[in-house]
Amino acid sequence: MTYALYILLFPLFAGSLVGIFGKPLRALPSQLLTTLGVAISFILSAILFYQFIFLNHAPINQVLYSWAVADQLHLNIGFMIDRLSVMMALVVTFVSLLVHIYSFGYMYDDPSKQRFFSYISLFTFMMLALIFANNFLLLFFGWEGVGLMSYLLIGFWFQKDSANAASMKAFLVNRIADFLFLVGIAGVFAYTHSLEFSQAFIAAPSLAQTSITLFGHPASVLTVLCLLIFCGAMGKSAQMPLHVWLPESMEGPTPISALIHAATMVTAGIYLVARLSPMYQLSPTALSVVMIIGATSALFMGILGLVQTDIKRVVAYSTLSQLGYMMAGAGASAYAASIFHLFTHACFKALLFLAAGSVIIALHHEQDMRKMGGLARKLPITYITFLCGALALIALPPTSGFYSKDSIIDAVQQLNAVGSSYTYWCLTLGVFITALYTFRCFFLVFHTPTRVDDPAHVHETSSTMWIPLIILAIPSLALGYLLFKPLIIDSPSWFGNSIVANHAALQTAAAMALDSLSHLPFWLMLAGVFTAWLCYVRFPKLPTWFATRLSLIYIVLVDKYGFDRLNDFVFVKGTRKLSQFFFAIVDVKVIDEGAVHGSGKLIAYLSQWARKLQSGYLYQYVLVMILGLLVLLFWQI
């Protein structure tokens, strides 16, 4: 228990200390302080992990501090420490620590390092609060906290207009999602009179039976609540159609993209669904919705990765697609596989981002792939580590991505629910697309003839940057093999009963790797890599030819299916019209002139009058007192 508390407190203190006293502390001590804080957190998380997974400590669900009590509403700060949260904490602190170290190099020539390190430390604290929460209140606190840090970090280079716009977009999209999430939380409280997860789980079966009428249709309360909460998850985990903010978020520094927009924060939605699996499991409708939205995101966001030219955006779209895989897995009740993919994805996607960042720094903040190429020899370490990450991403057996992704696809294949066959085909095709865009990016950056402006000055980045790459490359390759048995096959698995587990593959890890040769996804993946080689290395003219012949599709893709256009048309323009109406009629006429100015004038008038009452003459004060006394006397007698 105390360990968990300290895991949270160290990043909090280091972050706030550097945030407040950053200037007098100077850059290097600030960086060391925050890194130390997260390092201690990581070590404590590892201890906690060992205790819970190997020593079988019983789950702890405890209220630490009762913040405020109002009638039935208990606002508590409480921790739920079980196998799921412990594993999650280990992953978060691990990636966060590496990103801290990596940022020493990446932010080397940035003037406001203290601010940056303070933000990422505080982000780590918020994320851990979200993970360890045992009630919706603390969860929501962490949820908004990571969101806040994310907006601040997207807009970190606030001198750039695009960064500010991206930050604003992320903020607005998440507001919509969080509003619905909050409604969901309020609903949970309204029906269970508690904000604790455990109470909600106990009440779930009866809520599934209760039905309410919404818009004239009867619906199960549980389904409605699950869907509302899922809206929150959709926003944070950037599922269609609330995904638009994630590609834009690449305006932030690259370590942030690795930490927040790949490894940790965006997976909070998946964590949420897994954490609440006892609720979702009882609502087949909600599960199907989760699965279909996840599958759609997995395929169609991947396709968009094919036409991107910015290296970070390619990785960003691949993140969207992989989040879709996880969501689909959760929707298929394969929570274990979903979280498994979350872990492996955290490693290899952080690796890919950091490697991309290394490329960007080596090229002096150049992100356009059309100005790269032939970097394999110049940046050998980055090259090899990027390749490791890419192989894991396309799920080549026996890398880590293979085990987790195939577990999800297997689970969906065996499932017989509404939308499961659609999901299966989306995910399977997605494998081909993933391989295609990943290796397109890989070839364009590292192999094809160089298009760099000044190739002579390109050299490998500093050690603080490539050491984290190597550290991340190892789990990217091996983690799947190691965790496959304890997480997926074993019963009980490492998750114990912290999530609902009802999926068991019956193969050993090695057998699964061999077996994959006879499965469709493996060959699709190879086809994808081959196509990428064909299009971008062997016949570089091919893509242009496709683009002109299939111009309609190309335009649609470059336009990102028109989501931005739609948003712009419906929400931005519509809202603007609506707000213009409100501004002109309601605001100016009714509120400003009537209510605000009116009441303002009234109050100012009253205030003048009250001032006159205070004349300064003693006898008048006595008179007022006596009059007051007499009024009270005659009123009461």
Partner: protein, 101 residues
Amino acid sequence: MISLSAFLWISSLLFAIGIAGMIINRHNLVVLLMCIELLLLSVNTNFVAFSHYLNNIDGKIFVFFILAVAAAETAVGLAILMVLYRQRGTIEIDKMDVLNG
């Protein structure tokens, strides 16, 4: 035998005179102090009368305390009055209106 209500009337009359003095008098602060003294005396009258008619000693004891406190109060009041006179050269209540609003 004078009735209790007679005492109560006389004391409330004293009290009213004291209050009226505080409100009507706009010139001399010393008169104001005297009015306050009058208020306390009317209270004392009340206490003594009640104490006598209720056959209860508490009221009379209270009167002694009130007398003592009134003396102390007047001392403090006169001291402040001295300071005021030294600073402003006047003890008119009407002139005490710098602090207002």
